[in-house]
């Protein structure tokens, strides 16, 4: 996993609430056996019309937000399906950080497992960032070390993140490798469970 430390980039405001993972990446893009190349499906129904032509009204089609690395989203972002294709598509498109007032649990976990930072701020703070992002062509800074988001005006907001999560993101640590270091504890757990709940052992 690529470490996340500090990000200086453009931010795109997506002022919709309850954006679900079906909207982030529709089902027709889930029929892949790879992680790569999913940017083409990101927000597909928002970005393209029935003929596959870009829709002019959508924020990520606006040249002012070209190359945006930060997405500022409405409440309850990422609800619905557990598809990890959602963070993969965001990352493939170039988004490295999503800011919202709240995220659905599974989606947030999937993002963090891929080094995509989710930042939760208060409604008025997200609103303020949303306003500043309008028009594009601004630089926002997200600093994980200091846990701050800085808007172009200099307004700065602090966010909370679990300290161990933060450590993993900063270092880009692989969760599986970390867990496998507990192999002995897993062996012991299995041995005990085989005795206390033997009916779970399939012959």
């Amino acid at each position: 996993m690529k470490p996340f430390t500090r990000l200086d980039g453009r931010a795109a405001p997506l002022g919709l609430a309850n954006v679900d993972t079906d909207q982030i990446i529709p089902k027709q893009f889930l029929k892949t056996v790879d992680r790569e190349g999913l940017a083409k499906g990101l927000f597909y129904d928002f970005r393209f019309d029935e003929q596959g032509q870009p829709k002019s009204g959508f924020v990520l089609n606006d040249p002012a937000y070209k190359g945006a690395q930060i997405l500022i989203a409405g409440d309850n972002f990422g609800c619905g399906s557990s598809r990890e294709h959602a963070p993969w598509a965001l990352q493939d498109f170039g988004i490295q950080c999503v800011i919202s007032t709240s995220f659905a649990d599974i989606f947030r976990g999937n993002c963090l497992n891929n080094g995509l930072l989710t930042v939760e701020l208060k409604p008025e703070e997200v609103q303020a960032l949303m306003e500043e992002a309008k028009g594009g062509n601004h630089l926002f800074t997200v600093d994980l070390e200091t846990q701050t988001v800085t808007a172009p005006s200099g307004a700065q907001f602090t966010f909370e993140i679990d300290k161990d999560r933060k450590h993993k993101l900063l270092k880009g640590l692989d969760a599986i490798g970390e867990t496998l270091q507990h192999g002995v504890s897993i062996d012991v757990f299995e041995a005990k469970a085989a005795l206390s709940r033997p009916w779970l052992e399939r012959a």
Binding site: L16, A17, N18, D20, D22, Q23, P26, K27, Q28, L30, K31, T32, V33, D34, R35, D45, E50, D75, N76, C79, G80, S81, S82, R83, E84, P87, S102, A104, D105, I106, G109, N110, N113, N114, D162, K163, D164, R165, H167, K168, A175, I176, E178, T179, L180, H182, S185, I186, F189, E190, A193, R197, P198, W199, L200, R202
Partner: protein, 477 residues
């Protein structure tokens, strides 16, 4: 709070599966890992790249469900027309063969939707931890198992270590008192609950369902209820196991047998929330006041009793909410304030892991049969389909003659799979088509681009098929 508060059911299952704590996260042992073709190829590829092995193939079960066509399954995977779907199905077959994982391939009578197959095989048991790369894994909570949807990175993690890293959620209890009225089902109860708590209402929580109306539900009903927990934002839902749970599991292929059964049951009987346990959040609903409930909008919280009207945006005070309602009405092609029963439908879908079990099909068939006896058929302008949750459900339904009833009234009787729940296979809505659906998500485009989904119970969907518009099933009883 008392000094030594009792434990909730969630606390008990959590504690029994704690392997270690590491860097602020628990490492939780996973008893059963269900897998399917869509969310696993990248996980197996990751394992291969790192030279890792599947730790417990015996605790892993694979099905083919999300992508499969609902006809011609006997022809095998080679005959699946969609090239990308075929590749995913073939990739799964190769991955499970390489790793010695039990697999019910397409066409196998035991195959079906992952959340229907687990319980039906007796693989799902009380007190277990269960995961699957699908958010509706919450379904298995009906057995008092801690069952959660996970992402593909986590699938890889579980394959490699048989554990999941997680922080504990908070405890929430939803109690539904009293009895449900005639024609009111677990689906209506679930939609009513989501209407009350909202789609983010359970975020960060595990919800235990309690109360007389919940206890009264059959196992199928409890599965429907827990299935929809995720639409209320909670990762897992739980119903404490009881005699109904044990009766359901007795004799299932993978249920414990003989002395092991007795031992299992005595353990399962310890799985309940202690009387003095404290919940972080409690919500109480009155069962008798729940009406048959349908969704009008594009989020599962957009619910309305069947006797009600579609909302009017001008009655909301915040501009955000107003705009959201306007947007949803526009997408759904509905007029502010219209009676929901005026919505004319084009399609009916009876299926999905929410409502495709035998009891669901019986409920829909009962309405269809009643209509047939009165000389009524599926309305001319409506295309209606029934997709059983598994090959075994399909077989059972055919033994009971349900398929004959459905066909006689004009329903299409299909082969099992996820089908139009998410429209990854050829079953999907055309733009603008309105569907009465027993599935779980009415998101924009979920059942096909531009498609309009109204969630409801199987009996309500069958009634809508006959009437040609959304209708109160109680008028059919």
């Amino acid at each position: 709070m008392p000094a030594m508060a009792g434990k909730t059911l969630y606390d008990k299952i959590w504690d029994a599966h704690l392997v270690a704590e590491d860097a602020g996260e628990a490492i939780l042992y996973i008893d059963l890992h269900l897998i399917h073709e869509v969310t696993t190829p990248q996980a197996f590829a990751g394992l291969r790249a790192e030279g890792r092995k599947v730790r417990r193939p015996d605790r892993t079960l694979a099905v083919a469900d999300h992508n499969v066509p609902t006809e011609g399954q006997a022809l095998g995977v080679g005959a699946v027309a969609d090239e990308e779907a075929r590749l995913q199905l073939q990739t799964l077959a190769r991955n499970v063969a390489d790793n010695g994982i039990e697999f019910f391939p397409m066409g196998d009578i035991r195959n079906g939707i992952v959340h229907v197959v687990g319980p039906e095989q007796g693989r799902t048991q009380p007190g277990m931890t269960i995961v699957c790369g699908d958010s509706h894994t919450s379904t298995h909570g009906a057995f008092g198992a801690l069952a959660q949807g996970i992402g593909t990175s986590e699938v890889e993690h579980v394959l490699a270590s048989q554990t999941l890293r997680q922080q504990k959620s908070r405890n929430m209890r939803v109690t539904v008192n009293g009895q449900l009225g005639a024609g009111v089902t677990a689906k209506d109860m679930a939609l009513a609950i989501i209407g009350v708590i909202g789609t983010a209402g359970g975020t960060g929580h595990v919800i235990e369902f309690a109360g007389e109306a919940v206890r009264d539900l059959s196992m199928e009903g409890r599965m429907t209820l827990c299935n929809l927990t995720i639409e209320g934002g909670a990762r897992a839902g739980l119903v404490a196991p009881d005699e109904k749970t044990f009766a359901y599991l007795l004799g299932k292929p993978s249920s414990p047998k003989g002395a092991a059964w007795d031992m299992a049951v005595s353990y399962w009987k310890t799985l309940f929330t202690d009387a003095d346990a404290v919940f972080d959040r409690e919500v109480v609903l009155d069962g008798p006041s729940i009406a048959p409930t349908v969704t009008w909008g594009t989020s599962p919280e957009d619910v309305v009793p069947i006797t009600g009207n579609v909302p009017d945006p001008s009655t909301y005070d915040t501009p955000d909410k107003k705009a959201a309602v306007e947007r949803a009405l526009d997408y759904m092609g509905l007029t502010a304030g219209q009676p929901i029963t005026d919505a004319r439908i084009d399609r009916v879908f009876i299926g999905s892991c929410t409502n495709s079990r035998i009891e669901d099909l019986r409920a829909a068939a009962a309405v269809a049969q009643q209509a047939f006896l009165e000389g009524r058929l599926v309305a001319d302008h409506v295309k209606a389909m029934v997709v059983p949750g598994s090959g075994l459900v399909r077989e059972q339904a055919e033994e009971e003659g349900l398929d004959a009833i459905f066909k006689a009234v004009g329903f299409d009787w299909r082969e099992p799979g996820c089908s139009m729940c998410l429209g990854m296979n050829p079953d999907r809505l055309a733009p603008g088509e309105r569907c009465a659906s027993t599935s779980n998500r009415n998101f924009e485009g979920r059942q096909g681009r531009g498609g309009r989904t109204h969630l409801m119970s199987p009996a309500m969907a069958a009634a809508a098929a006959i009437a040609g518009h959304i209708v109160d099933v109680r008028d059919f009883l």
